[in-house]
């Protein structure tokens, strides 16, 4: 009897319990370690393809909101963005600063994880795809941040202008430091360039970036830096992989959202946009609306009447969300502008006309001509604004064009008796970083 008891006691106290305690407490808690896990993380569209920064779109001149609607808005940041007040992004955890950085964390987590996996011949392709996608997401997130939180790219001062925070790792402990604008754009370019070499030409879903998307993102980056030769080259590469254009004559303007989701022009799908941008509150600027010719199919496909104006229904998401991804029409326009800037007005107009012929009622489009590159540029910029309305590109364009005396504008809002203006060189073209980021990281605030 006593022997049994002793044995039992010994078993209890001395047997190794290591194995017993290695059981995972919750089967749903997984430590990412496989290519499948990393692929699933990058497919987490909720964190990577949704909630793109829209502050610039709200602050740009495409949007118009009535006084009554403005005053009734419950969204303080939206109100303040619209009137260029500096108190923005302090009332919501998910904002234009935090959401792109969330995508950066996902990208960095995948990039670090992939370093621990040595791909074999079979998995090399998938490994490349994932690394390419992670770099693409990070590069695009940095680009979007740069458009809102850094001063417009200005080559002479770029090396000293404060840029955004570049996160090298997924580690929480890594301190945030603002890089220079030059370093910011260098990183965006190097991320996207490597992505372009790694990404496959085609992907299963439009929310996954492909080669053409990476080249188009590079073109967008180069354009915002006024590097027109570079932009043209990236456009060539992007259009080499996909130069499809959607013939708007095939679309039905009576549909609630006439532009189809995942259509042939879409290189990469992402969405964003908050309440103020959505009709009936958000209306298109009435002058801009009137600039669409009556035989321009976009007039009816993009816009529908709402009380007090016209609302935008032309999202490539075919929903109330704004399309903030990348499509070929933008690449055509970027290349057209680059050609014009480089003095090649014929090549410029060829790209412009190739696009517009798909936008006007069949048989009615009269191709644009121009005597000089400057004239071609005028026309391309007008068309660029009209084609890419509510695509979250106008703000970046305004910042770039304001540096050119020919195209600089003063924006104006009227709320009741109050008139707000935004001068071309206003510091408000760069949004303040959220207060809590400044407090916790100690990085310098924008002026």
């Amino acid at each position: 009897m006593s022997r049994i008891i002793l044995l039992f006691f010994l078993v209890l106290t001395t047997s190794s319990c290591k194995k017993y305690l290695e059981l995972r407490p919750d089967k749903k808690q997984v430590v990412a370690h496989s290519l499948k896990d990393y692929s699933a993380l990058l497919d987490g569209a909720r964190f990577i393809n949704i909630g793109y920064p829209d502050g610039g779109e709200i602050a740009s001149d495409n949007l118009s909101v009535t006084t009554a609607d403005y005053l009734a808005l419950p969204d303080r940041t939206a109100q303040n963005l619209y009137t260029w007040n500096a108190d923005v992004f302090n009332d919501n955890e998910s904002n234009d600063w935090t959401m792109p950085y969330q995508a950066v964390l996902y990208a960095n987590t995948v990039l670090e994880g992939l370093q621990h996996i040595t791909p074999d011949t079979e998995s090399r392709e998938e490994w490349n795809r994932l690394r390419g996608a992670a770099l693409f997401f990070r590069g695009l997130a940095y680009f979007n941040l740069a458009q809102e939180f850094c001063a417009p790219y200005n080559a002479p001062t770029a090396a000293t202008d404060p840029g955004i925070v570049l996160r090298a790792t997924a580690a929480i402990s890594e301190a945030s430091v603002r890089a220079s604008v030059q370093a910011t754009y260098d990183r965006i370019r190097s991320d996207l360039r490597e992505a372009a070499t790694l990404l496959p030409a085609a992907q299963l879903f439009k929310t996954r970036p492909n080669k053409a998307a990476a080249f188009a993102a590079l073109a967008r980056t180069a354009l915002s830096c006024e590097a027109y030769g570079e932009a043209k080259a990236w456009c060539d590469s992007a259009l080499f992989y996909n130069n499809a254009l959607l013939d708007y004559n095939t679309l039905n303007a009576s549909a609630a959202n006439p532009l189809p989701r995942f259509n042939a022009e879409v290189l990469f799908h992402a969405i964003g946009g908050r309440g103020i941008l959505v009709p009936p509150t958000g209306k298109v600027d009435s002058l801009l609306y009137r600039s669409y010719a009556t035989n321009d199919l976009r007039r009816a496909l993009y816009f529908k009447p709402v009380s007090g104006g016209f609302g935008f229904y032309g999202s490539y998401d075919a929903s109330a969300y704004l399309f903030m991804g990348i499509a070929t029409d933008e690449v055509y326009l970027t290349r057209a502008e680059s050609h014009a800037r480089l003095g090649a007005s014929q090549a410029a107009l060829a790209d412009l006309n190739a696009l517009l012929v798909k936008r006007f009622r069949a048989g009615t489009f009269v191709p644009y001509t121009a005597a000089t590159p400057a004239e071609a540029l005028d026309k391309i910029l007008v068309e660029r604004r009209k084609e890419l309305v509510f695509r979250n590109l106008r703000w970046s364009d305004l910042r770039r064009l304001n540096k050119d005396p020919r195209y600089r504008v003063t924006l104006k809002r009227v709320i009741g008796n109050q008139v707000y203006t935004l001068e071309w060189n206003s510091p408000r073209y760069t949004f303040p970083i959220p207060d809590n980021v400044i407090q916790r990281s100690g990085i310098p605030q924008n002026p």
Binding site: M1, S2, I5, F8, F9, L12, T13, Y20, L21, L23, P25, D26, K27, Q29, V30, V31, A32, D37, A40, L41, D43, G44, A45, R46, F47, T66, A68, D69, L71, A72, P74, E93, S94, N95, T98, Y101, Q102, L105, Y106, N108, T109, R167, A170, I172, E174, S176, F205, T207, A256, N257, P279, S307, S319, A320, D435, N436, V437, Q439, R440, S441
Partner: protein, 1058 residues
């Protein structure tokens, strides 16, 4: 084996000396064997302990004095008579004892007098003073340091304040010998014999990493060897009043309409009118729109509005939804024993219907057996089974809402004058609802008084517990104990939302596709059935050696043991659409495609899926030991040590195990020979120090990801999200507790009690470290071991027998003082708004308690505009942005949001079997933030406040009111300034009459006519209301928001003994 036994006996005989042996049996006045009583021969100084059957044998000569002590009973002094007859002795209960007998830690039973730690014993009588379905709520008002926070629904109890910021703050609940893994509401109060609270480190550290919040040890009823069979039948009924809905702050319908007209005139609703989401507009706004369009004349409008002005939705809620709750409780307990066997059987049945007609039934059965198969071996076995069934009832006032984030408008009508149910505005505009019906969709209206009848939502639980214990005495002093417990339970929820229910119709309609007038239904027409089940399977095994030796000079009590425990939960949930409960059919739906929603074609969504699985297992391996040595019955020293390891995810420091321990000393002063203070015959000092732990097992040392199967309309196939970032430094929280106490009793029960001081230092506390959101966490918070705090307090317990004759009057006073402050918190959050809260959640700030109230300085209303004004740098200002950036040190600090001084005063009067007792609670030294009018919630959330009538309207009003003027457009910063201004902070102090109990007890021994052996009749009234409060607004600070103050309840019941 036999030889060994004989040998030991021989040694024992030698030990007791050559004197004659006196035998006897000890029983208490109740007839129960006084097992464990100590019999000491004054001459030889030899002490022995009475056996389980209460017998003893001690060496003594005639004329020797025997001194018999038994915890909870009066000492007995006896001179050994001539002759060899066995003695039959009866012990009388000690009326002056602080609390009963022994205390249980779940590992051992300790004689209280030899304990160094802080225990509170709650006797069966005290537990049955009040009536409730569950056992834990009966602890309210019974022990010091125990606090019930009822501000939110579902009381949370804590022992000696909170010493964790975000990890669980609930005390560990132990039933008999093992932590209870199931739902504590499965325990029938009739099963419970007593409860011990383990409050300091010496008492609780034996529970290691889970003991930092204190331990509640529930001891269930056991039979006693040799006791006569006793049957008790218990029955009681409780009637609970409706909650006072009129205590809800609501604006008058007339004023609400006035505000709506004001907003309408400003064009506030214009974008809502054309909203693509068809957002609902209130009936008044719809009338105003019709008036504007000319469809309604001004006279007709005014007539309609006049009809609405006199309405108050609270009247309808009170009349049509709420009812008196009824709770019935029946139980029978049978206990008894024979020479070597004891048993206890309890059967219970509970039947409740709450204020909203939700029903609950519980059946419990518990059988415990003890066999003493030899003088050395005892086997115990318990089987307990409980089964519950619950069904939801009517919707509560807070769940009847016109849309997410909108309160019910004050002129809503739930029924017409004839009592026929009416629909209210819900989710969409009335015009849209009407048009949709015309287009062939299902009726989209919401009728609160009918809706719940279409839903069948019930939950059934079953729980089985098996407990086996074997105790074997290896020698007289050394015994071995092996225990095993298995607990298995399952819970099934069946929620059939019939097609008639609004939720079901809404979902079907939202997904309805219309192609040229032809409708198709991606969410099929029919009911929606959700079923969910979870299964608990837990086991625990323990082996323990106990050593108990009372020698001539000292007594040593020690245990050492090891334990393994596993608690696993598996579960699954599933939803089917198009469910037909009559023939058990359902339809398959396409979860992968996204559909344009009918109410807004611009929005696409996939059909919500609700299918999933859960599986989790927690494992623990522990080794523990403790020892207490008492020298000369005066000096006791104790030490305890425990090491826990668990399978907590990837925590290196944890897998190595955490040693936690305690040490303590006690000095029973009254036993000293120099002690001469006759007025105070009992005086004991004790001091302990030790460590307990606390853990949050949802955290992980690695970056974890979670998989999702659906919800991403852009892709098919699973996707993943980052769950928690890696935290390789994760550690268990540790709480070091110092406790010093004095137990005392004056003669004749004039005054007895204890006073204790404690100081808890918690380190490695998990906190939400505010991180720079740039790292990729938009919430900007990550949980890490970043805090430390100190919590100190005094527990004072006094009882006094003021009058003790035929009429007796006793007073019991419980007083607790607790003060805590954070001493370290590695965060650099400086945003004032972080600290301006309701004080319900913990808001860590160094130097302050965890639940605290801060505010902005208030500088009155602007005499010209009625704008609220604050202070920035000492200057009166209306720059609300600047105010919102007030540095934290410049905010006004009021104090703790939980009481710092609280306790109870219980008076008991008895006369000839009639007993009346009243329990009064007091809570002092805390603050709360009063609700007032918020224009943003009024405009957008339709939540008014009576303060609207008090608002500033014209210059001069600022002298009589602090409610800001109504302005348009809204200034949300102005709103949040007023909401958090000092003018809305009130003192929470209050005194309330918690309960009154009237009982009458009679016994057959005195009243021959009584058909039963004993009978107790009682009636209890609970929640009798506030006697005094510091705030002048008539508010009850101990309830918050939609959690209305507990209504009066009245119970009657009896307990009959056979």
């Amino acid at each position: 084996m036999k030889f060994l036994f004989f040998f030991l006996l021989l040694i024992l005989t030698a030990f007791t000396g050559m004197s004659q042996t006196v035998t006897g049996s000890l029983r208490t006045r109740e007839g129960v064997p006084a097992s464990g009583a100590t019999v000491t021969n004054n001459r030889t100084r030899v002490s022995i302990t009475a056996t389980l059957t209460g017998t003893f044998a001690i060496g003594a000569l005639p004329g020797d004095t025997l001194f018999i002590t038994h915890s909870g009973y009066e000492h007995l002094v006896l001179v050994v008579p001539e002759g060899s007859e066995a003695l039959r002795l009866t012990l009388a209960p000690d009326p002056h004892m602080l609390a009963a007998v022994t205390v249980s830690t779940g590992y051992q039973r300790l004689p209280r007098e030899r304990a160094t730690g802080s225990f509170s014993q709650v006797s069966e009588g005290l537990l049955n003073r009040t009536v409730s379905t569950d056992i834990l709520s009966r602890l309210e008002g019974t022990a010091t340091g125990l606090f019930f926070d009822k501000r939110l629904a579902g009381a949370r109890l804590s022992i000696r304040g909170r010493t964790t910021i975000f990890a669980g703050s609930d005390p560990l609940v132990v039933v008999d010998n093992f932590p209870y893994e199931g739902d504590i509401s499965n325990i029938n109060p009739a099963d419970v014999e007593s409860i011990t609270l383990l409050k300091d480190a010496a008492a609780a550290s034996i529970w290691g990493t889970r003991a930092a919040n204190g331990v509640i040890v529930i001891t269930t009823r056991k039979g006693r060897i040799g006791a006569k069979p006793t049957l008790f039948v218990i029955a009681n009924t409780t009637l609970v009043e409706k909650p006072d809905l009129f205590a809800l702050p609501q604006m008058s319908a007339s004023s609400f309409i006035e505000v709506e007209r004001f907003l309408f005139s400003k064009g506030f609703y214009s974008n809502q009118e054309s909203s693509p989401n068809r957002v609902p507009l209130s009936p008044v706004v719809e009338l105003l729109i019709r008036h504007r369009s000319g469809a309604l004349t001004t006279a007709a409008l005014e007539e309609e509005l006049a009809k609405l002005r006199g309405l108050d939705v609270r009247r309808d809620l009170d009349r049509y939804l709420y009812q008196k709750a009824l709770r019935q409780q029946y139980a029978a307990t049978l206990t008894g024993g024979s020479a070597a066997h004891a048993y206890a059987l309890t059967l219970g049945y509970d039947r409740n219907a709450d204020n909203l007609a939700a029903t609950f039934r519980r059946y419990t059965a518990r059988l415990s057996n003890t066999w003493q198969w030899s003088r050395r071996g005892t086997l115990e076995g318990t089987v307990a089974y409980s089964q519950t069934g619950a069904r939801t009832g009517k919707p509560s006032f807070s769940s009847i809402i016109p849309a997410s984030g909108k309160d019910l408008y004050p002129y809503a009508r739930l029924a017409d004058s004839a009592g026929n149910p009416l629909s209210i505005i819900k989710d969409y505009r009335q015009t849209f609802v009407t048009a949709a019906k015309a287009a062939g969709l299902l009726d989209w209206s919401y009728v609160p008084l009918q809706d719940y009848t279409h839903n069948d939502n019930r939950t059934a639980t079953r729980d089985l517990l098996l407990n086996l214990g074997l105790t074997y005495k290896l020698t007289n002093a050394l015994s071995f104990e092996a225990r095993y417990q298995y607990e298995g339970g399952n819970s099934d929820n069946y929620n059939n939302q019939g097609q008639g229910g609004y939720n079901t119709r809404n979902l079907i309609n939202r997904y309805t596709q219309s192609a040229g007038g032809t409708l198709s239904y991606p969410v099929p027409v029919g009911g929606i059935l959700d079923i969910e089940n979870s299964t608990l399977s837990a086991y625990a095994a323990r082996g323990q050696l106990s050593y108990n030796k009372a020698g001539e000079k000292g007594a040593l009590a020690a245990i050492a043991g090891g334990e393994v425990r596993q608690s696993g939960v598996t579960g699954s949930y599933n939803r089917v659409y198009g469910y037909n409960g009559e023939i058990l059919t359902f339809s398959n739906v396409n979860y992968d495609s996204s559909y344009r929603l009918y109410y807004n074609n611009g929005v696409r969504s996939t059909i919500p899926s609700s299918t999933g699985f859960r599986e989790s297992v927690n494992r623990y391996v522990s080794a523990y030991g403790n020892a207490a040595y008492t020298w000369k019955n005066r000096y006791t020293a104790s030490v305890s040590l425990r090491r826990d390891a668990s399978n907590l995810f990837g925590v290196a420091s944890n897998q190595k195990g955490v040693p936690l321990g305690s040490a303590g000393v006690a000095w029973t002063l009254d036993k000293e020979s120099f002690y001469r203070w006759r007025a105070v015959p009992r005086l004991k000092l004790r001091v302990t120090y030790g460590y307990n732990g606390n853990v949050d097992n949802t955290l992980s040392a690695y970056t974890t990801i979670s998989y999702f199967n659906s919800g991403n309309a852009f892709i098919t196939g699973p996707y993943a999200a980052i769950g928690r970032p890696a935290n390789p430094d994760l550690r268990w929280e540790r709480v070091g507790t110092f406790n010093a106490g004095v137990d005392f009793a004056f003669v004749k029960g004039i005054l007895s009690g204890s006073i204790e001081y404690y100081r808890k230092r918690a380190t490695d506390l998990l906190g939400d470290a505010p991180v720079d959101p740039t790292v990729g966490w938009p919430t900007g918070r990550l949980r890490r071991n970043i805090g430390a705090m100190v919590s100190e307090g005094v527990d004072l317990e006094l009882s006094s027998q003021v009058v003790n004759r035929t009429f007796s009057w006793s007073v019991s006073f419980l007083g607790s003082w607790n003060s805590s402050r954070l001493t370290r918190y590695d965060s650099i959050s400086s945003a004032a708004s972080t600290y301006l809260t309701t004080g319900i959640s913990t808001v860590p700030l160094v130097g302050k308690p965890l639940n605290n109230i801060f505010s902005y300085a208030w500088a009155g209303l602007d005499p010209l505009t009625g704008d609220p004004r604050g202070l920035v740098n000492g200057q009166i200002t209306k720059d609300y942005l600047a105010i919102s950036r007030t540095p934290v040190p410049e905010l006004l600090y009021h104090g703790s949001a939980t009481p710092t001084v609280f306790g109870w005063l219980r008076n008991t009067f008895s006369w000839k079997g009639v007993e009346l007792s009243l329990n009064v609670s007091y809570r002092f030294g805390y603050y709360f933030r009063r609700n007032s009018l918020q224009y943003n919630t009024l405009f957008n959330g339709w939540r008014g406040h009576p303060d609207y009538e008090e608002r500033w309207q014209k210059p001069g009003d600022e002298t009589t009111t602090t409610v800001p003027s109504m302005i348009y457009p809204l200034n949300t910063r102005r709103e949040s300034f007023y909401e958090n201004a000092s003018v809305l902070v009130e003192r929470g102090d209050n005194i309330r009459l918690h309960d009154i109990r009237l009982g009458y007890a009679i016994e057959k021994a005195r009243h021959r006519w009584l058909p039963v052996r004993s009978l107790q009749l009682y009636t209890v009234a609970q929640n009798l209301g506030i006697l005094w409060r510091a705030n002048t607004h008539g508010l009850d600070p101990d309830f918050y928001g939609t959690n209305l103050p507990s209504p009066l309840s009245l119970s009657i019941g009896f307990k009959a003994g056979f």
